[in-house]
Symmetry: C2
Subunit: 336 residues, 2 copies
């Protein structure tokens, strides 16, 4: 049974706003029944974009918000002062129950801070982590936390493992997901203080399938489904994925353009190669949820195009249908 899901979308956030955001919302309602999208931002701009498309009009509502929080603004101050920004207005719609979810490609800092301050945490959740899916050789893994809480403690990482397992099992459909902690060696005695404190907590937790340490080189190989780490390390992993991927693909393209022979070869491999590299493109998997809030907040990449926005909106449906927050609430307060 499909339920009604209400999703606020930050029409002003990210490098390609409002054009790609509005297009993503249109694409989403064109393929998904039972959702209502609220496009939040400067209504004149949004409405002008909407005139370009055909879509079921009853599924999109425009909500005016005059202010925009810029990426460089200090987040705490911005959330406090810009009450009429697309981020604050959108998050308040989740808080007051108008919406189930908020999707934004805008300032990461403002979305993370606003998510915690405005929407609020599920009772018992100490720190809500940002948890994107990253591509692996044969699928995806959930990287948790990748930027919400620097200088985290062991008890936070234990909760990340629990919440991440619930997400992977119910949203991605991985039964009994393998949980690993990022470490600098495979042995149990390796690691920094945080890892050494966290390891025994994970090892003795009955609710997760903990498989031990994972070295960074094995993350892309898909050895684990839920990759637990503190936010600084997670952010480095996420961004290095992006950096190495794009550098390597650039070098491969340059390499193929070196001789006449290789140029002809390049034309022949291109279609097959394009399909393969698509698997390894993080934007295919929608945005990253901020887990453990009283509602769903999804942060998508600042350079999101319509495709990523559409995927993020559709992801919200599964999140609600699977009652992820009820499951997190139950797990966190049962294991306390």
């Amino acid at each position: 049974m499909q339920m009604n899901v209400n999703i606020a979308v930050d029409a002003m956030g990210g490098d390609n706003a409002p054009g790609e955001i509005v297009k993503g919302a249109v694409d989403a309602v064109n393929i998904q029944k039972g959702i209502m999208v609220y496009l939040v931002g400067k209504q004149d701009l949004i409405k002008k974009e909407l005139t370009k498309y055909q879509y079921p009009e009853e599924q999109i509502t425009v909500i005016n918000a005059e202010e925009i929080i810029e990426t460089a603004e200090p987040p705490v101050m911005a959330i406090r002062k810009k009450k009429d920004s697309s981020i604050v207005v959108g998050l308040n719609m989740v808080k007051d129950g108008t919406c189930d979810a908020f999707v934004s490609a805008g300032s990461s800092g403002a979305v993370l801070v606003g998510g915690q301050f405005i929407v609020g945490r599920i009772k018992g959740v100490e720190r809500p982590p940002l948890a994107p899916l990253i591509p692996t050789e044969d699928g995806v893994a959930l990287l948790v936390d990748c930027g919400a809480n620097v200088d985290a403690r062991a008890s936070h990482l234990l909760q990340f493992a629990n919440m991440g397992s619930i997400y992977m099992e119910n949203i991605v459909g991985v039964k009994n997901p393998r949980v690993a902690i990022v470490n600098i060696g495979a042995e149990e005695d390796k690691g920094n203080m945080l890892v050494k404190e966290t390891y025994p907590l994970l090892k003795t937790c009955p609710d997760i399938n903990f498989i031990g340490s994972i070295e960074a080189r094995d993350i892309p190989k898909g050895y684990a489904d839920v990759i637990v780490c503190e936010a600084f390390v997670g952010n480095v992993i996420l961004k290095l994925y992006e950096g190495i991927g794009s550098t390597l693909i650039k070098k491969i393209k340059q390499g193929m353009m070196q001789t006449l022979r290789s140029k002809i070869g390049a034309i022949m491999v291109k279609p097959a190669l394009k399909a393969t590299l698509k698997d390894f493109d993080a934007s295919e998997y929608g945005g990253a949820p901020l887990l453990g809030l009283n509602g769903l907040v999804v942060k998508t990449h600042g350079s999101s195009t319509a495709k990523e926005i559409k995927n993020s909106i559709i992801q919200c449906v599964t999140f609600k249908e699977q009652h992820i927050n009820d499951k997190i609430n139950e797990k966190i307060n049962m294991t306390k």
Copy 2:
């Protein structure tokens, strides 16, 4: 003028010992005059390997050492107990002045611990970091520290920046190398506690060319020459380079084998592609020096082949010719 450089090489260390190690030593003396290589390990095995090759015999000496430190052994205990291991014997040859340098593909932990305990630190150096060169779009960058000192302090990172700058300028030949600290955002107020403490120290240090924070995605783009971070993060960066690179290349090969058309194309692009990807292969650049010791200790990859061993041996010549340790000594004790 070429000076005489004496280099002890761990013939028993790494996945491909002793075969590839001995071959690497032979390849090195065959192209480099003025070096003397001491192959340390089980003499029967080493001598048997040596009979396979032609080389100037006066440039290679075999030093017997009966024990081997395995990768999984706790390093401190292993260094203390296995006095007749190739690692301990080789490091002692640096300590007593017989050799200028020690090269090993063996246990990282034992080499790092042994380097500090046996060879010892240059006066004033708080923590000797492991500093490999990593490939970037148009060259290389020095990653420091990538595994020697977990839970480092800000004063350590400042020394890493100083020593790394000396290395990049004198060994790699980059004038006034750009130093950056790994961070989760470009702004000065971003980061965890360690980064926030280290940033002002780097900013006000007159001896380095500090350019600010670097996000992980920009490391492969070559935005900085010396990448400063604590060892846990550095280790993740180094290993993720390896992991993403190999996964992506594997996927590209699979992609090219999907259709007849792409298979033919693959044959045509292969030679050009191979040359390009060679640039992005960390083993091209020899091993990673442990900076700040009273002598040179170089750790090469556990899976090192003859090529990496040869490159690591030859790297030792430049290190001595450029008086790197005198320069580190002067810089550290001047800036104190």
